[in-house]
Every structure is written in C-alpha cells, then in structure tokens.
C-alpha cells in the first residue's frame, strides 16, 4: 500500500470540498421538493398528526425534565452571585431572560437534535435500507411527500412549542428554588421579572430563534436519513452526522441571531 503523498491529501481535500458543495445542493433540492412539490396521494394531514405525535409529544418528557432542572440551577447560581452585590431580587429577571433569550431555544434545539433528530434519521435510513422507499416509489407514491414532508413540517412546528414549554417550566422551577428555598421575596421576584422582560425583544426573539433552529435541525435530520448509505453502518454514520451537524449549526446560528437581535452596539 503506497503511503499517501501530499498531492494525494490535497486531492482528497479538494474532493471532499466539492462533495460538500454537492451535498448542500442536493439537500436544498430535497427540501424544496419535499415542501413544495405536488403530492400524488392524499392523507397528508393524518401523516402530519402522526409525526407531530412521535416527534413533538414524545420529546415532551425530556424537555420538561431538562427545563425544570436548568431553571432550578439557574436560580441557584444566579442567587449565589447576585446576592454578593445585594441584588438577589434580580434573580427572577436573570432566570427569565437567560431562558427566554438563550437557553430555551438553544438547549431545546440541542435536546431535540439528539432525541428526535437522531430518531428521524435512523427511521428514514432504515426505511431506505429495507427498500420501503423504493416500494413507495413503485406503488406510485412520492416518498419525499409521503415520508419526508410530514416529518419536516412536524419538526418545524414542534420545536418552537417545545422551546416555549421549556422556558415556562424553567422559570417555574427557578421560582420554586428562589422563592421557596432561597427565600427571595416572591413579590420582587415576579415584579422585577415583569419589568425587565419585554414580550417583543425577549419572548418573541426567543421564538424566532427556535423557529430558525427547528428549520435547520429537522432539515438536517430528515436529509441525513434520506441520503445515507442503506447499510447498518451507513445509518449509524448518518445518525451521528445528524446530531453533530445539527448541534453545531444551532450553536453557530445562535451566535449570529443573538448578535443581530441583541447586539445593537
């Protein structure tokens, strides 16, 4: 076996760069076809409901538990730092703003990528390897509309909903720790929070973030399943790619969005 020379490595690098561009193109065409292509069979709504259940409702457990714990930890940490400056009453606004602006959308998106995203990729990859997608095609049903589209729309709708629930549960958990355990006065906790949290800048921006994340995470998850090698090794590789790419994309987009929304410097 000849060892790889420098030229070989450069050639490989160029090859992967071109491959990456091809994948971007393929995934965009995939997305457009799935979302806006004409459907040949009905029953789209039923499929959507089914996917909303398996993607959204089934992720509730992890989102609620994580939200609660994160809210509680935020209150604990926030309290310990703020009380040094005699501003323990600001704990409420700190917890709320952190959750609404950042942790709600981002952590929910990361959890979603890990739980629902990887499940989507594995499911579709499995369907590909057992030739179910080919069967659909031969029966005359477009697999992109029948399989991919409902899952895409389900993801776009579920993630923002999950992010909102995460924030609410987190704030509630934080309030429980701050008020009942750490002794922050409940009046100032909520009043300070209400005074500093604005619906437009904080809540809505958080929702916008989670909508953007929903789009990216679901797109990556469904495409990776569709595009994978139809072998068990290929499926496991694709699932890993989904989690890694989706997580990195969420974090990168979060930076850009935060700079756009809150960085009026």
């Amino acid at each position: 076996m000849r060892r790889k020379t420098l030229t070989d490595r450069v050639a490989l690098f160029g090859h992967s760069a071109i491959e990456a561009v091809a994948i971007l193109g393929r995934s965009t065409l995939f997305l457009f076809h799935a979302l806006f292509g004409r459907s040949t069979s009905g029953g789209g709504f039923q499929l959507l409901v089914k996917q909303l259940y398996s993607v959204g409702v089934m992720s509730l457990a992890i989102v609620v538990v994580s939200g609660m714990f994160i809210g509680m930890v935020l209150a604990l940490q926030g309290f310990s730092i703020l009380s040094k400056y005699g501003s323990a009453q600001a704990t409420g606004q700190m917890v709320a703003l952190t959750l609404l602006r950042e942790l709600g959308p981002v952590v929910t998106a990361l959890l979603f990528a890990g739980r629902a995203g990887s499940a989507l990729t594995a499911e579709i990859g499995n369907m590909k390897s057992t030739e179910q997608l080919s069967s659909l095609e031969m029966i005359g049903v477009d697999p992109l509309k029948h399989i991919a589209a409902p899952r895409l729309w389900a993801g776009f709708v579920s993630l923002p909903v999950l992010a909102l629930i995460f924030s609410v549960v987190g704030i509630w958990g934080g309030s429980w720790v701050a008020i009942d355990w750490l002794g922050v006065y409940s009046g100032s906790f909520w009043a300070n929070m209400q005074n500093s949290v604005t619906f437009n800048t904080d809540v809505l921006n958080g929702v916008i973030k989670s909508v953007v994340f929903a789009f990216v995470v679901t797109w990556i998850a469904v495409f990776q399943g569709y595009d994978c090698e139809p072998t068990s090794e290929g499926i496991s590789r694709a699932t890993t790619k989904t989690v890694v790419y989706a997580s990195l994309a969420v974090l990168g987009l979060d930076f850009i969005l935060t700079a756009l929304m809150f960085g009026d410097f």
Partner: protein, 158 residues
C-alpha cells in the same frame, strides 16, 4: 391504530405550547400594560438624559403613570427632548411640575419621575414640562465633591 389518542395527544401538545406563550406574555413579561390609546403626549427637555432609554417608565410618587416613547436632540437648544405617553387618568398635572431623571435601585435603570407643582393651569396633550432635572453623571458628582472638599480646605486654611 390508536388514532384518537394520537390526535388528542397532539392537540394537547399544541395547546400546552399556546398556553406557555400566553403565560410568558402575561405573567413573565407583564405585557398587559397601559394600552397606548388611553394616553396623552408630554414633552420634557433635559440638559443631559444620560442613561435614559426608550420605554423607560414615567412615574409619580413611585406609581407608574406612563412611559418614554422617544428621545431626540433639540437642534436649536442642544438639549435632549424626551417624549412621554402618560395615562389619561392622570390629567391633572400642573404646568409647573418637575420632571427628573432618577435611578431605580443600585443596578437599576433610569426612569423619569414627576413631582407636582402648584399652578392652577394643567398640562394637556402635547404640553411641555419646563422644569427639569437632568440625569446624574458620575464624573460631575466626583467633580462637585472634589470642588467642595477643596473649597472647604481653602476655607479652613484661611
């Protein structure tokens, strides 16, 4: 299969999301604030509005009666002009009332506090508060302190 459970589950899920949004809107961000229809406009000119931002509250005796809606520079007098929307129910402000830019708490934000004057004539929509006190700037405060202590030393030395 269990179609019914599916649909109910999804419906509840979406409802929970809407509920969360409402909760956030009302309880967390205090969205149920003064609707702008029931307010009237007042202006105030300040030498220095440092730290005051749009949407800061306008209060009297500690009670919020409105909010700041715009801050611009008056080109002719080189002062800052603050536009405020005040609750219509507070329609008995005398025209010699004072507007000051105050700080809420140690880390707090700036807000506009209004104290009453004694005149019979009242402020109406579009009226201007002439008696104003600017925001406290830290450097001026230190300067004043130093000046005072230098003056005192000088006096003692005499």
């Amino acid at each position: 299969m269990q179609n019914r459970t599916l649909e109910v589950g999804v419906g509840l899920f979406l409802l929970a999301g809407i509920l969360a949004l409402l909760l956030l809107a009302l309880r967390v961000s205090g969205l149920a604030a003064t609707p702008s229809a029931d307010t009237y406009k007042l202006y105030a000119y300040f030498d220095n509005i440092a730290g005051l931002t749009v949407r800061a509250k306008v209060s009297m005796a500690g009670v919020t009666i409105g909010k700041v809606t715009a801050i611009d520079l008056d080109r002719d007098n080189f002062t800052g002009r603050v536009t405020m929307q005040v609750d219509k129910k507070v329609d008995n402000l005398p025209i010699d009332s004072t507007a000051s830019i105050l700080t809420a708490g140690l880390l707090g934000e700036k807000y506009v506090g209004i104290s009453v004057g004694g005149d019979d004539k009242l402020l109406t929509n579009g009226g201007t508060i002439h008696d104003t006190q600017s925001s406290l700037v830290l450097e001026d405060l230190i300067g004043k302190f130093l000046l005072n202590s230098v003056g005192k030393d000088a006096k003692d030395a005499k």
